[in-house]
Amino acid sequence: MSSIAIRGGHILDPSQGLDIVADLLIVEGRIAAVGPDAGADVREVIDASGLLVLPGLVDIHCHLREPGLEHKETIETGALAAVRGGFTTVCCMPNTEPPLDSAPTIRWLQGRVSQVGLVRVLPIACVTRGRRGKELADLIELAEAGAVAFSDDGEPVAEPQLLRLALQYASVLGLPIVEHCEDKSLSAGGVMHEGWVATRLGLKGIPPAAEEAAVARAIALCAETGGRLHLAHISTAGSVGWLRLAKAQGIPISAEVTPHHLCLTHEIIMGEGGVPGGLLYDTNAKVNPPLRPRADADACVAALAEGAIDCIATDHAPHSVEEKLCEFDLAAFGISSLETALALCLSLVHQGRVSLGRLIEAMTIGPVRALGLHRHVPGLGTLAVGAPGDVTIVDPEREWRVEPDCFASKGKNTPLAGRTLRGKVVCTIYGGKVVWKE
């Protein structure tokens, strides 16, 4: 009987309000016991004294790029990046080539995932065929094949009528539509937030209303259809306002925010001097939605702390070096974030702006509930007895320097390069097996 005992750690499981120093026992790939002296006779023992013992982190929004875009990432490198970042479950977005818009593509993906075996990958399938925004994909067949949600992420579902239809089907299937909210006529050609930094750099801006108008529209359709709507990566105070209003009215909606929209602002694109001309034009900070001013980031932090924003998702978007080492307008949008997500978010805890319990909730049971993943994997996001043996062990005080060249991800594109973060994942256990250990 394979078993692991994790001894003396600070066990934190927001799903059960568990916050104790104790031992944790995993037997046959499942959580078997939590408490003093659990599994006293087990041979494989991990000493976790002084460390945090958490349910395996869950990321409901990442880009693994396979099939078709293997120069950016593969399922294997993405999975390695995930476990190094403490994630044991990830939901991958369907904007691959070909896109995940049919049952065979979903089954192919699941086959690749089980070959890799490091991490649980729950696929999100396209809303529309080919992500073209013209006609619905076969949502029912996709659901039967194992899709846990639908999204045309990267592109909004531009036609309101099509989004309405999708939400109507989603209400029957009990699966959420994950909407990337962006009104393309307002954002067209934009490469960063429309604000004074864009003016300073002479770059075309994306106004906050490009997101907020699309959020408002999606909420109206959600209210009317009763289909579950999840807002991907919201980034502005205005979007937070719409979200609060919708929740107050009992509309079935949830939302995520990324670590970078919580912790970074648009000034980072300029850099901090020390380069020719004093302006960096940091393409590694080019992301969609764009990094916003402090007031927007603060509104997102407050909404996360209060629970109005349900969860944190990485929007891990790896790109090759060539796709970022070029003129700002030409550079790809996206940040490689699986390996920095937890540590960056812990800065909010160190600053006293979000409690540790709430942060961990937003990275475990929060995302599980937002997409209803517990209906696919019972016990996911918890350390309840019988739940999957997914555990992340973190040294909360350990300082480390972000060195993209050492990332497991093929995507070295992070604006955090060289920055020192506090809090490091030291061990990741998936299904009772150690998949990453320092």
């Binding site: 429309e194 604000g195 004074w196 864009a198 003016t199 300073r200 750099l201 002479g202 770059l203 075309k204 801006g205 001097g273 020390g274 380069v275 020719p276 001309g277 004093g278 302006l279 960096l280 034009y281 402090r294 060539e322 080492l325 070029c326 003129e327 700002f328 307008d329 030409l330």
Partner: protein
Amino acid sequence: MRNEAAGPRRPVVAQESPTWHRRYLLDLDELTSQEILLLLDTAEAMREVLSREVPRVPALRGVTVVNLFYEPSTRTRASFELAAKALGADVVNITAEQSSVKKGESLLDTVRTIEALGAKVLVLRHWQSGAPYLVARYTRMAVVNAGDGWHAHPTQALLDLYTMRRHLGELKGRKVVIVGDILHSRVARSNIWGLSALGAHVVLCGPPPFLPAGWRPNEGIGGSEGIDLPRVQIETGLDQALEGAEVVMALRLQRERMQGAMAPSMREYVRLYQIDERRLSRAKPGALVMHPGPVNEGIELAPAVARSAQSVIDEQVTNGVAVRMAVLYLLAGREE
């Protein structure tokens, strides 16, 4: 204002001018007022050279200057070419049409090739903002920004400052009104930095969609807490803007941006924002009329104003050569 030095690798003309130490001219925003004045004073000396019977000095003999232009340009390219030749440099012109750009060669590859060919100075015009900044990080050549996207056009701003200074003397406290499409204008941005450094009172005037964030009325505005843009006055009405102005600078309108895209029509624009004689009468008598060229006849400026005694548009072009000589000389002057 940001004044951090850009970390030059070594002084270029340290013996002759202790205050100039940069390898790059990417914009005026990081220059001190002393550096700007040094450039303008050097341009004055170059103007004297240009007035000689044989307008040449051998200051850059043996130096290769490459003009790499990713955007069509007649006057700026010719101006740089004449400036480099007047200093005795060898000049190579490369335009995007001729080069490997169309074969998919990246900007950095092209620049590496030019450096390997032995060029010492790269003059770069690019349609994307920030392109010269990227290049400057990856080359040892001196880099001059000859215009990048909507962002900066420092030699144009220097020739504008030079022209103003010749007519008005010190610019401190002078009211300079910039009219038109500020949002898309690299000329406006560089002028705003340069004029602010020299203490001029800058007024921006244009239709609201042509005013960029940070320089819009009723918002957090340049110079206030946390906003690293010069503090300027914003006016949407041209008549108030022109009141007592000593310099009126009209910006070129890109026709494709009009015709319903960002303004109702050319006709509407002309009604509200054209500088005509009646409007100009609100400015100080003898106020300078400037334009970076080429002028859209009868759009930004009424023809009578463009050709009036107050117009210094042709002189701007002439001064451009002297200013660019000064820039090339200071950047590359005594290297190696």
